[in-house]
Amino acid sequence: MKAEEFDQYVRAQFENEAVAPRAEVEDAVFASLSAATRKRRGIAAAAILLVATSATALWLNAPAPGPAQPDAPAPTEVVAPVAVEPAIPAEQPTEGMAPVASTPSDEPERTAPEPRETPAMDEYATSAPVALDEVASRGLSGVELQETSEPQLQQLEGEKWVLPATVEVKD
């Protein structure tokens, strides 16, 4: 007898074969399944609780955002030169403009300057008149003071001066 013929005969005998298992097997299967499901749900619930607790704790312990925080995140900032732009202090963020929501790369021009910069600006604002008085009181030698205070274009011996120009002080 050929092997294929024999195989085909055996295969045909076992087609649609069915033997009912005991009812206890069904109970065991679904007991295992429900135990596994309970375990999975327990783990999921514990994870959710942990995350919620952590988030609440972080939220409660988080310091209020504002310029007074020394540990506030200082994103890459484009700090305008304080001495040149005295208008900057007016742009300091109010308390509601904490840089929490935006990333440093989002809007760098809106980022608040570091709070430590603020005293320097104030210092400059108060000390600037003193420095100007000192300069004004110094004697200037060899430099002719002009009567006019406004800058002007000057035409001297074919040379064209364009303001701002460099002034050399001769002995």
Binding site: M1, E5, D7, V10, R11, Q13, F14, E17, V29, T37
Partner: protein, 184 residues
Amino acid sequence: MEAADINLIEACKRGKPSAQREVYTRFSPMMFAVALRYTNGRADAEDILQEAWIKVFRHINSFSEHISFEGWLRRIVVNTAITHYRRNQKHAFQLDVDEVHATPADLEAFKELDFTREELATAIAQLPKGYGMVFNMYVIEGYKHKEIAEQLGIDLNTSKSQLSRARKYLQGILGNMSKRAQKA
């Protein structure tokens, strides 16, 4: 696959207990019959069935409707049976190779294919374990030798030779059964 079956499987994927029960009731007899062919007793077959069903419901989301659900279930049962077999008899495969000898007289007596399913099942159950695994997988489940070799961790030629020997051995058992039936 029918739309009702697809809906039932989708419900199982969502973890609906009533759908799981229905699938179990419908397919368990088929799966248990497969498990029985790979074991020596009902107790082992029940262990395999239980393990297989837990795998089915755990991995049912990976089942695609493009393939036969019954075929997918059968594969899970066979794989579980193989795992069970390997766990219990790590070295039985090598021992099986030389221990089987169907006598020429048995083979001579085997001339007609006139056996019931129960007689065939009894004869297959008498095959040495390794032979029985290869025979069941190749002849009844339709696995290829390459798959069998991979699943059982044996050489491709070992799978082929074991199948050939299993056939002869089975024919010998069936011939012997015929002789006894004629005497009776």
